[in-house]
């Protein structure tokens, strides 16, 4: 095992430097073959998401079909990585996805605010896992984190990890509520040491959601943790990534910070709902040389 550090001593982040570095990833040239391969990779990394109060069985079933058949009119289109839903929808999604290999991810722990007692969060998690979730996306207690109660946050994540059993745990930091890169780094360190399999930027319910600098800070935390422990942690930026070009910039960042091992949907995901169709549109543009109207792509 590895030692649990004093999280108040987590490395500091210089905001200007982090933003400057992040902007460099947008300068690489990605076109033709490189673009097509990148886009397929992006599509295959998407956690296709619906997290609404008005979600129904019907809506989730349709989304599952879209996940398995993003665009059947064209051959060689990969599927997305997972469907991300509320716990009450896990069973429906599990059944609809069958043996497609697409994972079911469920948010849990009183998503999105996380304002509930620990036992309720554990029950929420166990419910999702029992319904068939392969992955659990939990939220951290941001209030406790801001109050400096890092042990509380740590213990809570560890408890949820235990409740997950074999399901992989994604820990949502909700970086838009943390305020500084220093705190994003500290929360990342807490989550990874407490047992997260993935760290994730945002719920998608708070602005700003994922940004490139925030994701960079988290990727660097993952790299440091890997060197310290030998353990790989996945990364999931979520919210605000709706265009292919931006998604490709994220891939550049993963490639240059963590390299080959993370460039797959086992270790990197995009939490997004509208990104998939933009990626499909670009893939077809790369294949045919012309853009199709948005009406050619199914909205589920």
């Amino acid at each position: 095992m590895f030692a649990i550090p004093d999280f108040s001593l987590s490395p500091h982040i210089d905001q200007v430097g982090a933003e400057e570095r992040a902007s460099r990833f947008t300068k690489r040239s990605i076109k033709k073959e490189s673009k097509l391969n990148g886009l397929k990779l992006v599509l295959n990394m998407i956690d296709l998401t619906t997290l609404e109060g008005k979600d129904t069985d019907g809506k989730v079933k349709q989304l599952c079909y879209k996940a398995m058949h993003p665009h059947d009119a064209v051959p060689d289109i990969p599927t997305v990585a997972a469907i991300c839903v509320y716990p009450s929808m896990v069973k429906v999604a599990r059944k609809a996805l069958g043996d497609s290999g697409i994972k079911v991810a469920s948010v849990a722990t009183a998503f999105p605010s996380g304002q509930a007692p620990k036992d309720i969060k554990i029950r929420d998690t166990k419910y999702a896992v029992n319904e068939g979730a392969d992955e659990v996306d939990m939220v951290i207690s941001r209030g406790k984190f801001h109050a400096g109660e890092y042990n509380f946050v740590f213990d809570e994540i560890a408890a949820i990890k235990e409740a997950c059993g074999n399901a992989r745990l994604k820990v949502i930091l909700e970086t838009g509520e943390l305020g500084t890169f220093d705190k994003v780094r500290r929360a990342s360190d807490i989550a990874m040491h407490a047992g997260a399999d993935f760290i994730k930027t945002s719920t998608g319910k708070i602005q700003p959601a994922a940004t490139m600098p925030v994701t960079l800070v988290m990727l660097e935390a993952i790299r440091d943790f890997y060197y310290k422990t030998g353990k790989m942690i996945g990364m999931k930026p979520a919210g605000g990534i709706s265009k292919s070009k931006l998604a490709l910039h994220y891939l550049v960042m993963v490639k240059e910070v963590l390299g080959e091992a993370w460039l797959n949907n086992e270790w990197f995901r995009f939490g997004a709902s509208s990104l998939a169709n933009d990626v499909l549109m670009q893939i077809i543009k790369e294949k045919t040389g012309v853009y199709q109207a948005a009406n050619y792509f199914s909205v589920d």
Binding site: P11, H12, S34, L41, K231, K255
Partner: protein
Amino acid sequence: MATKAKNNTLKLKFDTSWSYAPAPESKSAATINKQYDLFINGEWVKPSGGKYFDTINPANEEKLSEAADANVADVDKAVKAARTAYEKVWKKMPAKERGKYVFRIARMIQEKARELAIIESLDGGKPIRESRDFDVPTAANHFFYYAGWADKLEYAFPNRTTEPLGVAGQIIPWNFPLLMAAWKIAPAIATGNTVVLKPAETTPLTALKLAEIIQESDLPPGVVNIITGAGATGAAIVNHPDINKIAFTGSTDVGKIIQWAIAGTKKKATLELGGKAANIVFEDAPIDQAVEGVINGIYFNQGHVCCAGSRLYVEESVAKQVIKKLKDRIESLIVGNPLDKNTDIGAINSRGQLETIQKYLAIGKKEGAEMYQSSCAIPGKGFWCRPTLFTNVAQSNRIAQEEIFGPVLAILTFRTDDEVIEKANNSPYGLSAGVWTDKGSKIFNMTRRMRAGVVWANTFNKFDPSSPFGGYKESGFGREGGLHGLLPYLNLVN
């Protein structure tokens, strides 16, 4: 769970199955003449000796063009043209009108930015990303900045009357050819002086393009004369009796020769010479950003930067971590065709410079330092050096004392603030330095005690026309840029 022994072998693989697309900038967007004459008195004139020298592309050793080799007679012609323009036109012209010309040159540089960037990368080997995003825009900004001062000198020096010096002889290096031309010409002509400028013999093309711009701008003939040649041409400028001011950027060795040459004359001088900047990383630094800053500090422009952060002092408690991160970062640098937009590190400027760098690599190894280089492939033709770092370096090693002027970083460690200040100042140079710490009070303590003209805190290699630049000790004297950059071209008469 991974064991400790296993952790030491952990390695990230940056050579990924998904790769970028080549994106070479098109050469057809740039026009390069087969041959360039001397730009004297607003016209292109043949060199009186009839000699020309080749300028090549250091990335593939192919000849790009040839430039005239100016001899003593040509220099005299250029100085006479500058003197006449000074006496008859430029010093009499209302400052407001002078400013308009300088503004016009700035705008024309912007209009021709793409062509200038391509030529700068072709002739000098620097990556197009840098010539496009740094060299050319910053050159234009210098003209804009000093254009603004032209008619406001009484505000720069309140209650004093200023007058220009006369004819300035300006000799510039090959690392930032266009930008150095801008640093020299803009303040000189904005303050009412006229100019004879000589670019370096390996990189004359963008200065000659600038001559075309100046011709097109209708600047009165003779205000700016641009002549090409090697050391002998430079010596003829320095020794010309009718020159009032020498502005030189280049090596400390040549700087010393210039100072000998002008001793006892009334010539004023500004010398911007070599450097061996200390870049200091404390344990409380934002480590990942510091690593990025160290990389930028030494590998920017292949390390052909007089203010490059070539001595890294890292606090021993974080040294292992910083070195590991530097090695990883080096692996993700893309070395190759300077015209490719993906390229981070281009070609070494000349065969001579490559030999100098290789000499120092051999010295470093012989001195017992451990050399680490990127595993990247380098092209077969042209002049190339992989990004290199040396660990286990001592203050007494030559690679820690002498300016290498290449992509070579010497890494030393320290324990206390006093120790690192002493070591950082323990150099004949004093051009620039960097400090990386999250603690504000430490920044001020360090910067106050550092003997360097520019000290960057939590960043490196940042330039702005409004900020003065220049050195202490053997890094030269006089300041360029900012309000301070006006003074070397002016007399305060009362």
